[in-house]
């Protein structure tokens, strides 16, 4: 059985003709997942419910391309009656009582939720190793990380378990694991996708997005999850367009900026060479590419540390052991209940970030750090505005290295931030960012290119992404055979 690796339109045709049923796809997905248990891609599987849903769908009309198709959901997105932990001990018994808006939208299309994917605890990390449930493994080399924080979603997509997954991206958490595992990952414009029902990390940066094996599937899932939501006042009223409409179109005359910082010596030379070869290919096909100077890109990690840790400390104040989640046994007092629950429930990385974040927002520190970071953030966004007056895209590598070893030391508290140095500016400015696989390093680990678009230009980004995908025609199946 190999239906799940067929192009989505073929699967849809087979479903329409009745050659296959949704349950065939669900059973195939679980066979694949179960034979790859070692990859640790999932925290919770939804097998019984998924099979039941598939049976339910048998009598229904196949009314859209994603009907009956299995999808994996990152475990910081609420799924009614299906355990949602954010990979934290503090939520390891939490059963949501409502669906996130994106989950509602997915269910409306009759997609079938297969399970909840592994991730860094509360999406804080860049290797998924801060998960309370252990790290997922990279399908290209099981001794390597899948990246993070959406490492489980990246793993299950790269390993071809299911064709669709949702991730979240606060500072690169969709794009960086997508780069490490050779898949397509989109962080949409801030406000394009509702954040209602997502366990908040840093609310001014968080955004949900699709993770898939190819550009077309990515755009199809973005079509489904986008749109205004009265439950999220930051969600945009802008009309949802068909994000597939420019796929396969020409790139002749398109103007591309390459910020010099993104191609500087902080990036491995093998990656630079690969990106340069893609740039040459784009030029040969009529694109105009300029190397440009952009201010503040090298400050992005510092801004991110201040803003993300600050917002996280506030968002995670809700975990108090009272209303839901872990609750410390026999507390001496009310105060003690908070202190003990949070000591027991949060992992090391999360505690560090909450502590530093609380400090940065306390008293005069808010002026010294937080307000300054917001000022520089504004100027950084203006820098992007200026570039987009002249250019259609900004491109560069997604990561400075390819995936590193699972057993590399975790004792450097700055490391998880530095892994995302090239992708964080996009979250700061609220722009969309897309990872496209462009090749492999000498150890055959995937290399990704980062395409940044202007706000709400996701369709244009898929144009460039699909062009690169078609020209390079890479074998992106870790087991070979496309």
């Amino acid at each position: 059985m190999k239906y799940l690796e067929k192009p989505i339109k073929e699967i849809n045709d087979l479903l329409k003709k009745g050659t296959i049923k949704p349950i065939d796809l669900v059973e195939e997905a679980f066979e694949r997942i179960e034979s790859d248990k070692d990859l640790n891609a999932y925290i919770t599987l939804n097998k019984e419910e998924a099979l039941e849903k598939a049976r339910e769908l048998e009598g229904k009309e196949v009314d859209n391309l994603l009907f009956g198709i299995p999808i994996a959901i990152k475990d910081n997105i609420l799924t009614k009656d299906l355990r949602t932990t954010a990979a934290s001990h503090i939520l390891d018994n939490f059963i949501p009582i409502y669906d996130a808006t994106v989950v509602e939208k997915i269910k409306e299309k009759n997609m079938i939720i297969i399970g909840k994917t592994n991730m860094d605890e509360f999406a804080m990390g860049s290797s998924s190793r801060t998960s309370y449930f252990g790290a997922p493994k990279n399908p290209w080399n099981n001794n390597k990380i899948s990246g993070g924080s959406s490492g489980g979603s990246a793993t299950t997509i790269a390993a071809r378990h299911v064709p669709f997954a949702l991730g979240s991206d606060t500072g690169g958490s969709i794009r960086q694991p997508a780069s490490y595992t050779g898949i397509v990952g989109m962080k949409p414009t801030y406000g394009r996708v509702s954040r209602y029902g997502v366990i908040a990390f840093a609310s001014s940066l968080d955004q949900l997005g699709p993770m898939t094996q190819n550009v077309l599937n990515n755009a199809l899932l973005l079509n489904v999850i986008s749109g205004h939501d009265s439950h999220d006042m930051t969600s945009s009223h802008r009309e949802v367009e068909d994000y597939t409409r420019l796929i396969g179109k020409d790139i002749k005359g398109k103007k591309i900026a390459v910020p010099k910082f993104l191609m500087s010596d902080i990036v491995d030379s093998e990656i630079i060479e690969k990106i340069e070869s893609v740039i040459e290919m784009l030029k040969e096909n009529g694109a105009v590419v300029d190397y440009v100077d952009m201010k503040y890109l090298d400050n992005a990690v510092t801004l991110y540390q201040i803003i993300a840790m600050g917002e996280a400390s506030s968002n995670l104040a809700r975990f108090d052991g009272i209303r839901y989640g872990l609750s410390a046994k026999d507390p001496k007092s009310h105060e003690d209940l908070y202190l003990e629950t949070r000591r027991e429930g949060f992992g090391k990385e999360v505690k560090r970030r909450i502590m530093v974040g609380s400090y940065l927002l306390s008293g005069d520190n808010a002026k010294t750090y937080y307000n300054k970071a917001l000022s520089i953030r504004d100027d950084m966004a203006t820098e992007f505005d200026k570039v987009f007056e002249k250019y259609d895209y900004v491109i560069g590598p997604t990561t400075t290295t390819t995936a590193y070893n699972l057993d590399d030391p975790m004792d450097d508290p700055s490391k998880s931030f530095m892994d995302d140095v090239l992708v964080i500016p996009v979250n700061m400015a609220g722009l969309p960012g897309l990872n496209i696989p462009v090749g492999f390093d000498k150890n055959h680990m995937p290399i990704g290119m980062h395409i940044i678009g202007n706000k709400f230009q996701e369709a244009e980004m898929y144009r460039l992404g699909s062009f690169i995908e078609k020209e390079l025609d890479l074998d992106l199946n870790p087991k070979g055979g496309k």
Binding site: I95, I97, T234, S236, Y296, V301, L339, R343, S375
Partner: protein, 102 residues
Amino acid sequence: MKDRLTKEEVLHVADLARIKVNEEEIEKYQVELKQLLDDVEKVNDVVGYDEEILIAPWDHDADLRADEVGEMINKDAVLKNAPSHSGNYITVPVVIGESEGA
């Protein structure tokens, strides 16, 4: 420049964050938190920006919903996730009198 926070500084930060820390953890945090605080100190080296701030990159003004009763969350469902409850109430340790004891 000192390479670690004092114990008191760590305890202050842990108190702000409402997280209990033990002796062993305090020692680690003295170094780790100092490193992160050194990282964020770099914000003071940046020059040339103006005073405008960007709190969140929205594309529109906040639109607030009309103040009308909408769908409500089911009380029984809420209580299912509460670690401890009695009737319609979530139970917590005794609060009154706590401050005198502390």
